[in-house]
Symmetry: C2
Subunit: 244 residues, 2 copies
Amino acid sequence: MNVERMRPGLGPLYRQVKQRVIRNLIDETWKPGEMLPSEPRLAEAFGVSPGTVRRALDELVSENLLVRQQGKGTIVCRHDPERSLFHFFRLVDPAGQRPTPASLVLACFRRRAEKAEAARLSLTAGAPVVVIDRTRSVAGRPLLVERLVLPARLFGELAQVAPADLPNTLYTLYEERFGVTVYRAAEQLTAVAATEREAELLAVAPGTPLLEIDRLATSLDGVPVEWRLSRCRTDVHRYRVELV
Amino acid sequence: MNVERMRPGLGPLYRQVKQRVIRNLIDETWKPGEMLPSEPRLAEAFGVSPGTVRRALDELVSENLLVRQQGKGTIVCRHDPERSLFHFFRLVDPAGQRPTPASLVLACFRRRAEKAEAARLSLTAGAPVVVIDRTRSVAGRPLLVERLVLPARLFGELAQVAPADLPNTLYTLYEERFGVTVYRAAEQLTAVAATEREAELLAVAPGTPLLEIDRLATSLDGVPVEWRLSRCRTDVHRYRVELV
DNA sequence: TAGTGGTCTAGACCACTTT
DNA sequence: AAGTGGTCTAGACCACTAT
């Protein structure tokens, strides 16, 4: 086909195809869980060869945005409850297994962003945010306490949800209810001492060392959508990372 | 070529090619820093098409075992001091920059493995190991204290090296002196309280929360080659992870 | 100029799923 | 039987590096 048509110096053709696919994911032309057109069909639609489409999809699969199913087709990744946990939750038990924590929402309300929050979420000072405080437990034992801060522009109605109705795996909710797909996150870990309140919530002595996880999650288009600050007991569970 | 010749049900052809390349890396047919034969040459040698070789090399590049240099060729990754740090060292300063820590070796000796050490390194009970205790500092300020345990079978002579001669980036030494390439590691993080000795070495109060990093490093052939237990101050530096 | 990796195309055959 | 992704091949042209 006519290569010139697609390439005003924007790099390799397969990356342009990849970006067009991502755009279709952002505007929900193809929604999570849905199937994409077949590779030959996409190739024709984009005016490139099947091999080029394949390479674009390869990258998207390796970035966990798509899943291939041999003989069936390619579908848009979904934040099923399992995936949500398996993908971003890095705490494992002594046997290396991921636990299934249960949430207890302590508070869920709307207010203006504090300075640090606005900075972290790239919001203007004082922009409205939704704040969620909760604890998560495994087998009845408290594991962590955390605060989530979200831009109200994206998640405004969240503050009206009854705390008890907030699901355990929020990313599924973000996706199904607000059309926001979290697909990348950066975490920063430090060791801190438990405050009085944290100690009480986690059933440990004040001053106990806790693992603080500071996570900033971004959506498909690179916009920060959630700031999450967790403090975890690590007497049983540990944070696991594979370095390649 | 004759596909049957290479495939007794061992999976895709390009993975068999990949394994053959890895074997050549293990037995040092191609050493770190050296250049591989060109892709057409490899294709001929392996009796497959260039595209298949390319796909095998693609995976090895994405696993950081090879580096491509357009117009020149493909070389075997080397644990340069920078790479060594950039690749496995996850602590960053407040600006997100990786520091260049300086090492101070406290001890380096040989003894029999303790039970936990043998288990972790897949050694028989009481097998000889080399133990290194050291601290690492940034800008004169202590950052972490750590103990490394290595199988003496692989690193026997290490115990005879004068502590002052041990380089800052050990993985370079492992590779150049002992032919051991570390290419994968798993880390487990917990929060712990500083002991008296750690507090002294790190210039903090006893009981200060520290980030404990438990790292098991494995070589090309999947054998554990180093167990490293670090305890870090996180008042300035933080452990950073990207979740994709 | 020759050789290398980087990209793109085109078409074959296989394994799997669906109808 | 038809359609899908998975693999493998073959050859074109480009960008870069060395000489």
